[in-house]
Each structure stands twice: as C-alpha cells, then as structure tokens.
Amino acid sequence: MKKLEVRKNTYYDSVTLMIISKEVKTVDGVNEALVGMGTDLNQELVKALHLATPGFEEVTANDFFVAADCDSDEAFAAAVAKVDELLSKKASKGKSDYFPPTLEGALKVNPDLNMAIISVPGRHAAGVAQNCLDHNINVMLFSDNVTIEEEKELKENAAAKELLMMGPDCGTAIINHVPLAFANVVKSGDIGMVCASGTGAQEVSCIIDQLGGGISQLLGTGGRDLRKEIGGTMMKLCLDALINDPKTKVIAMVSKPPAPEIAAQILDQAAAGGKPVVVCFIGGDPTEIEKRGLVAACSLEDCAHKAVALSKGETPETFDTFSMGVQQAEQMAAAEVAKMAPTQKYIRGLYTGGTLCDEAMKLLIGELGHIQSNIPLNPEDNLENARTAASVRHTFLDFGDDAFTVGRPHPMIDPSLRAERVVQEASDPEAAVVLVDCVIGYGSHEDPAADLADAIRAAKAEASKNGRHLAVVASVCGTEGDPQSRSATQMKLADAGAIVLPTNAQATRFAQLILRRL
C-alpha cells in the first residue's frame, strides 16, 4: 500500500534527510520509500516510482515528505516513528546552552516555564522577582541585599497567587528531585523539607540520604522569613504545600529559632496538618514543639535521624552521640589531648557554612560560656574586623558572612581564605582544636578538600615545629552521589591528619570531648 507523511513548511538539513532516506528503507515492511522536499520534480519522481497517493499534489516545494510503499499501516507507522527518532536524535545532539536576554524572551522560548532562579545585584533583585511573579513563575531568589520591606511585599504577592518566593538569600532547594544552586545529590523519598537555612538544609538532606531515607521536596524560605516583620509567610505556604503533597509522608522543618508569635503560628499549622513533623529550631527550646505533639530535634543530625525513623514507621529517638560509640570517641579525644602542650586551651571553628557554624556554637555555648564570632550568639561576643582580627580565646568564624565575602566569592566556591586561616591559627600557642566543615555538592568548589588538606598539613607541621599538637576535627556535608564524592573528600582530609566525623554535630561533640580534657 502507498502511504504518505507530509510536514508542512518544514526543513531538515541535508545530512539528516540523507540518513532518513537510508534508514526508512530498512524498516521491516517498507518496500520502497522516497524522502525529500516536495518540489515539482521530486513529486514527478514519486509518481514515476508509483509511490504517489491521493493528496500528494498538495505537497509544496517547502514541505518535507516521506512517501512509501509498505506492507501494512503498522509498517508505515514504524517508518514514521523511525523518522521522528532520527530527527529527535539530531535535535538533542544539536542542543546548546542558550541564554535568552529577557524574561519575556525566555517565556517565548518556553511558555511553560514556572521556576526562576534569580541571581542579580540586590538593588535589581526585587524588581526581577516581581516580574517573575507577575508571570506566575515561582521564584528562588539567590540574591541578598533585598530590603525587608521588599521581601515582605514579594512574599505577600507570591502567597496570594500560591507561588513560591524562596529567598532572598536562598541558596538551597531541591524541586522535583532537581537540585537548585547549592544542593546535593540525594535519593528521592517521602521526606519533605522546608528550611530557612542553606547549609542546614544541605546537612539534614545529606544525613537523611546516608541513613537510607529520601527527599520528596526541599523548599527554602530565606533566613529572614520567620522574623516578625515577614511573619513566616513562605514557611506557612511551603508547609501547606508539603502537607498537601501526596508524595510527602514526613515533614522536616529547619530554622533558627523564630520570633515566638511566628513560631506559635507555624507550629499550630504543622500540628493541624496531620503528618509527622520534625522541627529543628537550631538551639531553640523544644517545649513549644513537643507541647503540640510535634517532634523536636536537638541538632541537624538529630532532625535527619528522627525524620528517617518516622518515614520508616519507627519511633523517633534522640541521636546525640557518636556513630563510632562514645567509648572510642573518648579514647581518641584523650589521645589527642595527650600530645598537646599546656598552653593549648581553645577551639577555633572555621566554617564555610553559616548554619553549620551556628549549630556548632550552640552545641558548645553551654560549656564554653563565650564564643567570639562574626556571627555571635551574644552581642558582647562579637568579633570586630573578623577578617583581619586575630582569634581570641574560643573563636568561631563564618567565612560566608559579609565580613569575608566583600569582593570575593562565597567560601563554598572559593575556600582559599578559610584555608589560609587554618594555617594562621596554628601559630597561636593557645589554639588546641581547629573545627572545620567541608561542604560539597552542586554549586560548591570542585574539590574543596584539596586546599583544606594542604592547609591542615601545613598547620599541623607549624604546630609541631613549635612543640605543639594541633587537633583538626572535620566533617563533610555531602553525599556519595555528589560530583566531589563524600568518601573521597573525607579521605583527603583524613590523609592530611584531620579527624573526620560523619556529621557537624558529631565533629562538634568530639571537639567538646577534647576541650573538656584541657
């Protein structure tokens, strides 16, 4: 039977047409076929080969056609499918990065797009975000330096349309299993996360992955969302989305402690949602959480453990110990202390992840009393000019804070400044422990452990030269699936002499064991 497929005003390059011509004839049940543009002479040839069908005369010189003599309709369908397969192969091969210069242009290219990541200077960010919202596009606003008034307006506008307005200063999200900005390769699963902290979200999601759990969605809100001025608008919207998401069985919520009235509203909403919710208000009071029947977590790691337990239908139990066991941790800490000089008394926390730094300080503050920092827990512990100032007693530095990032990339992208500081701390006779994080995953430096390992070696050598032993305690935030690989990163740090613990909380507790012995 004679069959015809016509694509009006359609052009394919000659190489493609030749491949199609050749391949179509090899399809089972196709006896003869001619492929080309519908010029008069090509039509004449089709007729000469007895491949013409009724309607063929309507084909024009600018139309692409496939004319075939086939055994059956199925054979022709297979031939057309072959044509489409070859064409799509060609199209995907030819794909290249393309950057539409305007939002309107992007929408013309893909009218269905519904998510925008915005990273523009802060003064322009609100306008760009509002433009996206006006076009019903969900927003992840990576930019900072957006005023709180602008943030409030953007979030209210977004909430009115039930759109996400993640940020400003939102660096981490996983939407429909696609990691956005600084995020990790984690398994898919039934734990939905809503977080007002970037590295906090990364730490929890990575530990969930290590424990065998998976993430349904990871939504960010930006760090100021739970402030009284904003009112937790996005946290409420995201929480509602996860409550109504059929793929989400358990919800994990991560944030610094919110304003009390906002916390009450959020916790009431979570309690009414009907799904198990683990709440990690880092360093916050668990009373209000537990009072509503929700599960409070004492650390990011504990949050992950409890979420995974609930996901598996198990009773969540607090995890505040060591994976290696307390006894072994005690022995290792004692061994470290035994090598130290009497002058060594203090810890130096040098972090690239702000939330990890905050978590470590909160885990230690009860015993240490004061921790100097550029992101201090108490105003009187503020370390002025942190970039140039020497560390004082117990000092924690967040290298992602403005004090360190003016004119420089974020330390997760360029960790060199932190590496220099690791070496610098070694020359302080009072420094006993250096506590570091190493965040891997998308967005992060391609090998953040390399510089850090060199710095650790140099620092240890410097201390040793002066008759001291500097303990370096580290944790890696990431997964095996990340481009840098968690285990490979851990190995590099361990080879350099660091004691590598599985999580930031465990690393902090290990440092605490050392400090208790000094």
């Binding site: 090509n42 040839l45 210069p101």
Partner: protein
C-alpha cells in the same frame, strides 16, 4: 552580550537599512539558520563555516532553533531580538563574494573529475562518470544533458524551459539538481552573467524549488558564490598548487550531505563545457 559576527557578505550588508527592519525565522538547523528579512533571506552560520552569499558567520555557536521565539529586526548594526541586540555586525569583516571575470585554464576540469572519483556514490557524482546509481540521477541524466546543450545553443526561451525541467530534484534540503545548477553557473564565463542568461536560468529554477535552494540559486545567477567556491575557482583559473586546489575542493565538498559534491559535479560539467566551447556560445563559433 550580543554574539559577534566575524564575517558578513558585503552585498548583504549593503542591502540592509540602517534602521532595523522586521525579520522572522524561516528555518533553523544545527549550524545554520535562515531569516526572512525584507525581500530576501539572511543566513546565519556557525563558526568555521565558509561565508556564503547573503550570510553572516558568527563568532560562537548559537541554538538557532530558539530564534523563532523573538520579534526579530535586522539592520546594518546587527540583529535585534525583542529590541535587545542579539548579533552584532559592527566588527564583522565585509567580504565581496563576486565571481571575477577570469576564465578557467584549459583542462581545469580534470582535477575536479579526479577529486570526484573518490566521491562516487554521492548524489549526482555518478553522472560525471557516465553512470547512474540512484533514481534521482537516472531521472535527471537526460534532462541535464539537454540543459547543457540548450545553454550553449538556444536562446532565452529554450534555456528557461531546460532549467525548469531540472529544478528541485533530489533528496536533500537543497535538491541535488539545484546544487548541480549552482555549480554549473559558477563555471560559466562571465558573458552569461553580463547578458542575463545566468540570472534567467537561476530565476527559472528558483521558482520551481524550495525557498532555501531558491535563495542560493538567485545569488548564483547574479554571480555570487561562497568564499570556498571562489577560492576553488581562483585555483583553477590562476593555476594554484595541487594542495591548495585539493583543500579548496574538500571545503566545497564538505558542504551539506551531498550538496557539495553535487555542486562540484555541476561545476565539473560547466568547466568541461566552457573549455570545450572556448567559452563562447556555439552559434558564435
């Protein structure tokens, strides 16, 4: 930042208005795109491609398929998408793609035939060896022979009819017979362009084929060819070295799937006929 054009056909550039005029995407491929602009077609080419008449070669690759989403305008400064400059012509080298007056050297068709002997099995190449190995060649063989005879003997009407009988035949985007005709026109002496015969043949064929092929034919009828073809013609007219000639033929042959070889086949027959006739119509001899 707009993409920079590194080369632009000077004739195309002169035809553009200072003030950008509306344009639209006609067709897009992996390494080329055609825009319908004003009365003609403007071709965008990826880096590494030889400049063709009416075309622009870009500094870096683009995903041309996306151009259809924009309101495009084209002017002497470049191409604008939604009023934002997408491609800049400002620093582009403007090249004249005009075929000069020189006649091919006697016997210059021989190296082309030698080259084509390694391309048998492609498009219409078989015809240069008095063979037919595909239905297109079989269909065209007598018509092309008739065309060659008519071009050198008959007047305008005969030539027009003959051109009409070969136009738009073949499997490629630019049907093989059109490529063959472009090649043939490139080999014809300048007298055929001066008296309008070449343009008449090209226009007649253009009316019977698709837009893209028609565009190339019309430029060929006016004596405009790609820089690769001009380089080849210079080699054959001025006696360039073998290596230079081979490189030039390789570049022409690499165009499209069979288009380059079909062009060379037509070019071979054009050189053959020009050399056989001494470049003069038969009634003049």
């Amino acid at each position: 930042m707009p993409v920079r054009a590194i080369k632009i056909c000077a004739s195309l550039w002169r035809s553009l208005d200072q003030e950008p005029c509306p344009a639209s995407l006609h067709s897009a491929f992996q390494h080329a795109a055609n825009l319908s602009a004003g009365a003609g077609m403007l071709t965008l080419l990826s880096p590494g491609k030889g400049l063709q008449p009416g075309s622009v070669v870009l500094e870096r690759a683009m995903d041309f398929s996306r151009l259809g989403a924009y309101s495009l305008t084209v002017g002497r400064d470049g191409i604008f998408a939604d009023r934002a400059k997408l491609i800049s012509f400002q620093q582009a080298q403007r090249l004249e793609l005009w075929l000069d007056e020189a006649l091919p050297l006697p016997g210059s068709e021989r190296p082309v035939l030698d080259f084509l002997s390694g391309r048998r099995g492609t498009g219409l190449v078989c015809l240069a060896f008095q063979e037919v190995d595909n239905p297109w060649a079989e269909f065209l063989s007598p018509r092309l022979l008739a065309f060659r005879r008519v071009v050198w003997t008959d007047g305008a009407d005969g030539a027009r009819q003959a051109a009409r009988r070969i136009a738009g035949c073949g499997p490629g985007l630019t049907p093989s017979s059109d490529d063959w005709l472009c090649g043939y026109l490139a080999a014809l002496p300048s007298a055929f362009r001066r008296d309008g015969t070449a343009a008449l043949l090209a226009e007649t064929a253009a009316e019977a084929t698709n837009d893209i092929s028609a565009n190339l034919l019309r430029w060929a009828g006016k004596g405009y060819f790609s820089e690769d073809i001009l380089a080849l013609k210079r080699c054959l007219c001025c006696g360039g070295g073998e290596a230079e000639r081979l490189t030039a033929m390789e570049r022409v042959a690499s165009f499209g799937s069979s288009s380059g070889c079909d062009f060379l086949t037509g070019f071979y027959f054009g050189l053959l006929d020009t050399n056989l006739t001494g470049g003069k119509r038969l009634e003049e001899t």
